[in-house]
Symmetry: none
Subunit: 115 residues, 2 copies
Amino acid sequence: MVSYLESQPEGIRCFLQLRDATPGSAITTELCDAVQNSHCWVLLITPSFLEDPWCRYQMHQALAEAPMANGRTIPVLKGIDRRDYPRELRCLYYIDVTRKENGFRQIKDTILRCK
Amino acid sequence: MVSYLESQPEGIRCFLQLRDATPGSAITTELCDAVQNSHCWVLLITPSFLEDPWCRYQMHQALAEAPMANGRTIPVLKGIDRRDYPRELRCLYYIDVTRKENGFRQIKDTILRCK
């Protein structure tokens, strides 16, 4: 998803923790910086996301930063059942890319709209 | 706060660095042991806490141990403005004991709930 987004002509820049975090700095601070310095937050919700406390932490920080999101929080579902959709995001529309061919395109369009 | 908590009939045991750390052992190892061996972490956030790198270190270690906390990280504010509340904790509710009479009681109840 990140490769797709960053290869687009619109010059979207992503923050990917494993790639972009500064080694040696406090994990939570890095994540907070990333959340605060981003226009929007794409939450790729997979079975692993739901099990990972760091992913959930980022989701909660994004929601704390902008509870009503205003289009900044973009939930993307992949391989999870609708009933496992986190209830904290229940009031937000999501993009389901599980069986969708143009899912990445839709994510890109949504990101560009919120800029 | 520690005196109050330890004098309660529920038998709460606290780890207080200056009192309980083993002299001669590495400070950071002691702190990590304390974080790992505790049911929950009460972060008493005062102006001194914010300035003290050891306090911040413990806060980050607690978050790294359980980023989503699940009620184990209990932020307690005393004498600091809400806007100075560490952003790493932003997604967690805190107890403000600055002007609250039953603040210690609320801390105790929260600790007992997370046991």
